[in-house]
Amino acid sequence: MYGMINQAVEQLVRKVAGEAGWHAVRERAGLPDTPFTTMAKYPDDVTYRLVEASSAVLEIPPSDVLVAFGEEWVQFTLQQGYGALFLMSGSNLPEFLENLGRLHTHVAAGFPGLHPPVFWSTDPTNSSIRVHYKSNRIGLAPMCVGLLRGLGKFFATEVRVTHDKRSADGADHDEFLVEYQLEVEYLHER
């Protein structure tokens, strides 16, 4: 994975547990005291180790670390200057989510060798949409819950995310029901 993923994990841990917490996580993950480089590629194992170490140091389940990381990821990408690209993908949450798959295809063009997850959405209504996620990386699906919550914050929209189909339980892919409240009727605005 690209270094920016690991940088975002580091940013999350520093926010929650400070400098000492980050050093504890880094040491537990067996990583050297050197900064991650945004555009360098790291083995996936580094990220998995960071998640496991964060779980142990922060004393929360790995799935909760991933949810928190998903939310942090939205913040992190905004800090990296990708906010304008978010807005070009949609002016509200459901519109953005309908374009999420296309967005990831474009992202892949900016990051050679990237193997991004596949997103697509179905069943849009004025109050909900179903988001589908498929990745060749195992166990990261809880991150989507945080990601969807983070996007709700970005679009100033209250959301409720239900992870109701799980690849971990044998499903072909993961599905998330995203319920939201919009001031306009989304289907009429399309």
């Binding site: 555009m39 990708y82 304008a84 070009m88 374009n99 474009h106 900016g110």
Partner: protein, 170 residues
């Protein structure tokens, strides 16, 4: 054959949402949906030569542009709003010409200011992807700068420690 029969209008709209065509009198015939939304003054019947300028090469906008034997890359700018379009002209029957192209921009802020979204950029164009490529290149440069600053600070700290140690020994 009319202009409309030359290629289905809906297909033209989908593939080239920033297209426009005009006839020998300089009047606009058709306008793509994205161009029409962003620059509503560019509308059928309006004067193409007043509303659109050929910037590269800097020469008058004329109907014979599409008929030139060696089509080349051209850049057109809207007289209002500063929308730059790069593309090419192709001849149409009945003394008319068609421009097909895409917006030309330096960064995503320009596109955002113009009100262009990814929906306006057909998948066959590389523009949306190039926006991510541009941003990730900028991020890499900023990252190198940050790492360089960290290295400089560490060097300074090390030098201070060494000097202090040397003074202690003296």
């Amino acid at each position: 054959m009319s202009h409309e029969e030359w290629v289905p209008a809906s297909l033209l709209d989908e593939l080239f949402p920033f297209h426009f065509s005009f006839d020998g009198t300089g009047r606009v015939i058709r306008v793509g949906p994205a161009l029409g939304r962003i620059r509503p003054e560019v509308t059928p019947g309006a004067s193409a030569t007043e509303l659109l300028r050929l910037q590269l090469p800097a020469r008058p906008l004329t109907v014979d542009l599409g008929a030139e034997s060696a089509p080349s890359l051209l850049v057109v700018e809207t007289a209002q709003g500063g929308l730059w379009l790069r593309g090419q002209f192709v001849p149409l029957p009945l003394d008319a010409t068609l421009f097909v192209g895409t917006p030309w921009f330096n960064d995503m802020a320009e596109m955002q200011a113009l009100g262009i979204t990814f929906d306006d950029l057909p998948p066959h164009t590389a523009q949306a992807s190039s926006l991510f490529l541009m941003r990730s290149s900028q991020v890499a440069v900023e990252d190198s700068r940050r790492l360089s600053d960290q290295l400089r600070a560490a060097n300074l700290q090390l030098r201070t420690v060494l000097e202090t140690a040397a003074e202690g020994r003296a």
